[in-house]
């Protein structure tokens, strides 16, 4: 498995501002993903963070709202831009280990509240 950390663990932000969430893995991984989990709900994939190229976004998510960087194989950032209260969620980073079963492991999440 991989050890994944996220910063910040939680934040309270004003509407109209932006927040950048960091994801750090303790080993090089091929795949990194960003998910959103709204309160009491399931997880929805936002995008796949590709090393050296643009992220691949899922339907309903756009780069202008959720820009993603992945400068190397152990680090990625997700920015939530021009926030509104509807963006209040838990944002989770996950990684694919690329092993025999290519399991995915999740970070602890960043709890975002937008006022």
């Amino acid at each position: 498995s991989a050890v994944i950390s996220q910063k910040p663990s939680r934040d309270i932000c004003q509407r109209g501002t932006s927040l950048t969430i960091q994801c750090q893995v303790d080993s090089q991984v091929t795949m990194m993903f960003w998910y959103r989990q709204q309160p009491g709900q399931s997880l929805t994939l936002i995008a796949t963070a590709n090393q050296g190229s643009e992220a691949t976004y899922e339907s309903g998510f756009v780069i202008d709202k959720f820009p993603i960087s992945r400068p190397n194989l152990t680090f990625s950032t997700l920015t939530v831009s021009n926030m509104s209260p509807e963006d209040s969620s838990i944002y989770l980073c996950s990684v694919g280990t690329g092993g025999a079963y290519d399991e995915q492991f999740f970070g602890p999440g960043t709890r975002l509240t937008v006022l």
């Binding site: 399931s42 997880l43 994939l45 995915q104 492991f105 999740f106 602890p108």
Partner: protein, 110 residues
């Protein structure tokens, strides 16, 4: 079609009981079938997973049963404990992307 239906939405069992959580899917291209366990304030943790060429897998008190023809798989928790109280998600995978079910909130009473 990526829809994944999970049931029940919530479940209460007594300690020692055997809760069963079900997951039904449409996409026959799913190639990996994991279950995740999530405690409040934590990220989901991989609990157990199965490949489609196997009908059952056991790891400790947790068992996955897989029915490829019915496009269903289920999680069984043997001898459940209060510490198993959590939310459980099925999350079948297609092209390395997990599609999460709606979740089942399990409460194991002492």
């Amino acid at each position: 079609q990526q829809q994944v239906k999970q049931s029940p939405q919530s479940l209460i069992v007594q300690k020692g009981g055997i809760p069963i959580i079900n997951c039904a899917y449409e996409n026959t291209a799913f190639d990996y079938f994991p279950w995740y366990q999530q405690f409040p304030g934590k990220g989901p943790a991989l609990l157990i997973a199965i490949r489609p060429d196997v009908s059952e897998k056991k790891e400790g008190r947790f068992t996955i049963s897989f029915n490829k023809s019915a496009k269903q798989f289920s999680l069984h928790i043997m001898d459940s404990q209060p510490g198993d109280s959590a939310t459980y998600f099925c999350a079948p995978r297609h092209f390395q992307k997990l599609v999460f079910g709606t979740g089942t909130r399990l409460l194991v009473s002492p």
